[in-house]
């Protein structure tokens, strides 16, 4: 069980001589991912998804709030002590090429963490070899043909599988997949998604899926939760299908409206929402962050920040003063 409460992260950019520029990447994010569960973070570029994912994987520090792994609050530990906890959470990078060392064979890549593990648990060398083959088989690769190769000799999909296999060598409890399929060829994407789902089911590994392609978030399991993030804040949260089918936050609705319609297979949603453009509009910190772009903004939005809440008749949590369901997503033709 991994939970975060009010996580805040501010980047200080080392600008010029006169003062640094601050970027508020996360402004108090709450989340909870159960053991073996699934969660997806979606949002526009720059909204803080990656930052959050890296914080969860222990690769980035946070300024405020608390991250709790299996009931242990991380801020109570010294950096050294946190490491074993974070090892249970493995990050799968977006770019499978840069995630593998081009100068090392797959064999060498897998061996390093396995050797460490063997040392810790007192296992033999033979175990390392066995285990390497095992994790490769787990991700659907043939150990015999893959082990001796260099990353550049593999396709994108295979590389991504190797990255996942490497994460599996340390028996993680959770995988954080940051845009894990966006650089994979379209025809192979589903394969990786299916693999993640399969790992969840077989090994009970929780998956945190970060994407801006909302549709893919459905494929890691229908029990998953969707977190919609806007400018470092969660604006809507609920079961994947519920949020997609009945989004209530105007931002979620804008996002979903922006998804291209497969004319011929689908027909567009009836109430698409087009946000006012340009994110630059005012960094005003008091009101709703989305208000400047929101076509439905009301009086309260300007001065008050809505918090994530549950309201009558709406199954998901949301952060909007005027929640309203709108049918924005395209429907398959066949449903007609």
């Amino acid at each position: 069980m991994i939970t975060g409460e009010g996580i805040v992260k501010t980047f200080k950019q080392r600008g010029n001589v006169l003062g640094a520029r601050e970027v508020r990447a996360l402004r108090g994010v709450d989340f909870a991912i159960p053991k073996g569960g699934a969660a997806s973070f979606i949002g526009e570029s720059g909204c803080g998804k990656t930052t959050l994912g890296r914080i969860i994987a222990g690769l980035e520090t946070y300024d405020e709030g608390e991250l709790t792994l299996d009931g242990v609050p991380m801020s109570s530990l010294k950096p050294k002590q946190r490491q074993p906890h974070f090892r249970k959470i493995q990050l799968i990078h977006q770019d499978p090429y840069s995630a593998l060392n081009p100068t090392r064979t797959i064999h060498q890549t897998l061996n390093a963490p396995l050797t460490l593990r063997a040392k810790q648990t007192g296992r033999s060398k033979a175990w390392i070899e066995e285990r390497a083959a095992e994790v490769l088989s787990m991700v659907g690769l043939d150990p015999g043909s893959v082990l001796a190769r260099y990353p550049h000799q593999l396709s994108g999909g295979m590389r991504q599988r190797v990255v996942i296999a490497r994460a599996l060598t340390v028996d993680p409890e959770m995988l954080v997949a940051d845009e894990a399929v966006s650089m994979i060829d379209v025809s192979l994407r589903l394969g990786i998604l299916a693999l993640l789902k399969d790992l969840r089911e077989r090994l009970g590994v929780a998956v945190l899926f970060i994407t801006h392609d909302v549709a893919t978030s459905r494929y890691i399991g229908d029990d998953g939760e969707l977190y919609v993030i806007y400018r470092g804040q969660v604006v809507e949260r609920g079961p994947v299908d519920t949020v997609i089918a009945d989004p209530v936050h105007p931002y979620t609705q804008s996002l979903l409206s922006a998804i291209p319609v497969l004319h011929g297979l689908e027909r567009p949603g009836e109430q698409p929402v087009t946000p006012v453009e340009s994110m630059e509009a005012g960094q005003d910190e008091s009101g709703c962050l989305f208000a400047p772009r929101c076509p439905f903004r009301g009086e309260r939005c300007a001065d008050e920040r809505p918090l994530l809440q549950v309201t009558e008749g709406i199954p998901q949590e949301h952060a909007c003063f005027y929640p309203e369901r709108r049918s924005v997503v395209a429907r398959p033709m066949s449903e007609v």
Partner: protein, 328 residues
């Protein structure tokens, strides 16, 4: 002004790249017609030869590549493959506009956008440079930007979406009526993408253009294109009106591809990945169907013969299996 939109006929186009293993075709024997005034979309996975095809439209394949065979006939220009030197240069920009991928930098980092517009004007002998700048400003305004400010900006001062719009402006400002957009929305976020696509559609209609959109994202073509062509391993395997191709794909690759699209709604179990992996320049088989390794309908003839592109009404499909079924 009707009739300004040119038609384009690509025929038998083969483009090869020189590699240590010899000259290998990245685009092979492609035939494609762009009807005047339509938006045609080309989809294909990475390395399928889309960009190469797009560059061929301007006879701009970069070395070590070259157009080995075929013709690209553009109304009002003739066969571009035959054009050389100044003629070719003049055709570019004035007749054919080319829009680069968004996140990449298609602007000179050292010059303001306005100065680059002027360079463009001078290159094409525009006499009324003021008028050109005015046009540019209007175009930018049309796309929802503050034209004056953008013209005064350097590339690094613009966001990805803004750059992309500047790119479209530069492609159109000389009044080109054939526009090629290579991956116009890749690396942009969804909302910006939707905006750009909207702009593409509107500008296309307003200015009476013939447009070619190249992308790996079927969603993008489905959203904007009238006609859709699917590329695989350097070949066009299927083409036809967008709705027809999406609704009723014929080629097994198209089918597989469409099935592999993650869907927002509906049964997730319907979607499945295509087994195998896309070919690269070196793994494309020399003879026979390029898709056969991943094909469910593979037949013996696929190993030996290239399937010809055969018209089926509005649709053109290059598959032995489809032919067989049709004839049967």
């Amino acid at each position: 002004m009707p009739g300004q939109a040119p038609g384009v006929r690509i025929d038998g186009l083969t483009v090869v790249y020189k590699t240590p293993a010899g000259e290998l075709p990245a685009v092979r024997d492609v035939a494609l017609t762009l009807e005047p005034g339509t938006i045609t979309g080309i989809v294909g996975e990475s390395g399928s030869g889309k960009s190469t095809l797009a560059l061929s439209l301007l006879n701009a394949v970069q070395p070590p590549g070259r157009i080995a065979a075929g013709s690209v006939d553009i109304d009002g220009l003739g066969d571009v493959v035959g054009l050389r030197g100044e003629e070719l240069r003049k055709a570019r920009g004035k007749h054919v506009g080319y829009v680069f991928q968004a996140a990449q930098n298609s602007l000179n980092p050292l010059k303001t956008v306005g100065k680059q517009v002027l360079d463009l004007g001078r290159s094409h002998g525009v006499e009324d440079l003021r008028g050109l700048v005015r046009d540019a400003r209007e175009l930018l305004g049309r796309m929802g930007l503050d034209g004056a400010r953008v013209l005064d900006s350097h590339q690094h001062e613009l966001s990805g979406g803004m750059r992309q719009r500047v790119g479209i402006m530069l492609a159109l400002v000389l009044n080109a009526h054939l526009v090629v957009l290579d991956e116009p929305t890749t690396a942009l976020d969804m909302i910006t993408q939707a905006n750009i696509l909207k702009i593409v559609r509107e500008v296309h209609a307003e200015r009476g253009l013939t447009t070619l959109v190249i992308t790996h994202d079927i969603g993008v073509v489905a959203e904007v294109a009238d006609r859709l062509a699917v590329m695989y391993g350097g070949r066009l395997v299927e083409q036809g009106p967008t709705r027809q191709v999406l609704g009723d794909p014929r080629h097994p690759y198209t089918k597989g591809l469409i099935r592999a699209i993650p869907r927002l709604t509906g049964d997730i179990a319907e979607a499945r990945a295509l087994p195998g992996r896309p070919p690269t320049l070196t793994t494309v088989p020399e003879r026979g169907c390029v898709f056969r390794d991943r094909c469910e309908l593979r037949m013996d003839v696929c190993d030996t013969d290239d399937p010809a592109a055969v018209a089926h009404g509005d649709r053109i499909v290059a598959c032995h299996a489809v032919k067989v079924r049709e004839h049967a």
